[in-house]
């Protein structure tokens, strides 16, 4: 009963800044993978270094982060990632499937 239902989504990017193939990079061009963990009250995303040859994610290579507290910010407009202590949620992310 204490389980918290969460969903995991992800999106690939070829670079840290928008470019023409940012929307749909070919596998060989993927450099960053954005992993999102979404629960009923927050959405937490880490954009991590990704190797398309080995399909390995480098969890210590954090390119950017997002954190939206949905009760006050249902539209996900106010990213509070930089203002947050991430030890707890990163532990959650460590259970990434």
């Amino acid at each position: 009963v204490n389980e918290e239902a969460v969903s995991f989504s992800q999106y690939p990017r070829p670079a840290d800044t928008p470019q023409v193939n940012s929307d749909l990079p070919d596998l060989k061009d993927i450099k960053v993978m954005g992993y999102s963990l979404r629960s009923w009250d927050y959405r937490y995303t880490l954009w991590l270094g990704f190797d398309p040859k080995t399909f390995q994610v480098n969890v210590s290579d954090i390119h950017a982060g997002e954190l939206y507290m949905l009760a006050d910010d249902p539209g996900e407009d106010n990213n509070v990632y930089t203002a947050f202590d991430h030890s707890v949620i990163k532990k959650n992310m460590a259970i990434l499937p």
Partner: protein
């Protein structure tokens, strides 16, 4: 108990812009009516907000890191593992399985065969008029034809006097009629192409959304603290002729406000057009006496940004692109047949009856995922649920990375 048929309906790029999800603008009476007799999951999320990866993940119950499909250019059986699909599993249990329209993503991602014969009993049907979808079919102000984003048409002037989703619905209706007297249960998957761009839709649906009543997204600006890597520059939208003419700066735009309103108007009109096809399909199911032993699933592959965060299209991790409708109609579970009254699914013509409203059936608020559809649907159909996958499951042909949600239909949610 007797094996239930399955009607599996997938819309393309449909966000939760439906009446049954609380959207105040859209008119979607047929889907809302389905929801009033169903289990509605209010917080369902796709695993990746782009067509092929999301569809392959949903239909195999494997996440993108297991299918290793992040673009459109690989077929999971060759590229990562011989994972069993939902229709393949039903086929192995004696179901006649058939695909109409866009269920798997066509092309390389489904081996140019929509994964036939593994998943389907007969080759998949694709509407012939879809070949014109990216052609210059849209009459511009200059009277010439263009490949526009906004493409409301007089259907009689289109090639063949039809559109892809009209053809898909005709084919699905034909297939339902052919199954009435057949004892084998069927698994019919119908994939509508709308509201995916271009908005090539019957022009009459625009009249439901007068432009003067349209509003911009509540948060149309790129958020201050949004990391650049997170932003989707909506390249596919930019490529359409009418958008190119606007000379919008890359990557952040913005699109001129009047054109933003027109995009939103066309998206909603495309949803109402697709809703009408769902209504035709469900009313046929009912008229053939199949509604009381057919499970109906309605979902989409991912959402679509309508200007929120200064973004359009999918390609991101925002809720507006990952959150999807997920509705299960299970006769005898989500609704009881003696409650039905004269008919279970009457066709509701939104063009003549735009002001319909409904009360949802049972709703689920807990967060769920599209990878949950496979184990849940298998359980509802009484076929037994695939095992949960181990952490690394590349060698496992049949397992599910999603959860079985069927118990929430009867006993409500916990947690």
């Amino acid at each position: 108990a007797e094996m239930k048929n399955v009607l599996f309906i997938v819309a393309d790029d449909l966000r939760t812009s439906l009446g049954c999800y609380g959207d105040p603008v859209v008119k979607s009476p047929n889907i809302d009516h389905l929801a009033s007799k169903s289990q509605v999951f209010l917080n369902a999320y796709a695993q990746q907000a782009v067509c092929a990866p999301s569809r392959t993940s949903m239909l195999t119950s494997r996440r993108p890191d297991t299918t290793r499909l992040y673009d459109f250019k690989s077929y999971w059986r060759v590229h990562s593992g011989n994972y069993t699909t939902i229709p393949q599993y039903f086929k192995s249990k004696g179901y006649f399985t058939v695909s109409v329209g866009k269920v798997f993503h066509p092309g390389i991602a489904s081996n140019h065969t929509d994964d036939y014969p593994y998943s389907w009993s007969i080759p998949a049907y694709h509407p012939p008029s879809f070949r014109y979808e990216k052609e210059k079919m849209c009459k511009g102000e200059d009277g010439k034809l263009h490949a526009n984003l906004l493409c409301a048409v007089n259907v009689t002037e289109q090639p063949g006097g039809t559109l892809p989703d009209l053809e898909s619905t005709d084919e699905a209706v034909r297939l339902l009629k052919s199954r009435v007297n057949n004892d084998d249960p069927f698994f019919l998957a119908v994939g509508f192409h709308k509201p995916h761009i271009p908005f090539r839709i019957p022009q009459e649906y625009l009249s439901l959304y007068p432009i003067e009543q349209m509003k911009l997204a509540p948060d149309p600006d790129v958020p201050k603290h949004l990391p650049p890597v997170a932003y989707n520059p909506w390249t596919d939208v930019r490529k359409r002729d009418d958008v190119q003419k606007l000379n919008i700066s890359f990557p952040y735009g913005p699109i001129p406000k009047d054109f933003q309103l027109r995009i939103r108007q066309h998206y909603y009109a495309a949803v109402s057009y697709m809703d009408a096809q769902v209504g035709r399909l469900l009313s046929t199911l009912d008229a053939l006496g199949l509604a009381d032993n057919t499970v109906v699933v309605f979902t989409s592959d991912h959402g679509w940004s309508l200007g929120e965060h200064g973004e359009w299209a999918k390609y991101s991790n925002f809720d507006v692109t990952t959150r999807v409708p997920l509705i299960f109609f299970v006769p005898g579970v989500t609704t009881f047949l003696d409650w039905q009254g004269p008919s279970t699914f009457p066709f509701i013509d939104v063009l003549t009856q735009p002001e319909y409203s409904f009360q949802n059936g049972k709703v689920g608020k807990n967060v769920v995922e599209l990878v949950d559809v496979f184990p849940t649907l298998s359980s509802i159909a009484g076929l037994g649920t695939p095992q949960s996958c181990p952490d690394v499951s590349f060698q496992e042909e049949l397992c599910a990375e999603g959860r079985n949600l069927a118990n929430t239909f009867r006993y409500g949610e916990r947690g």
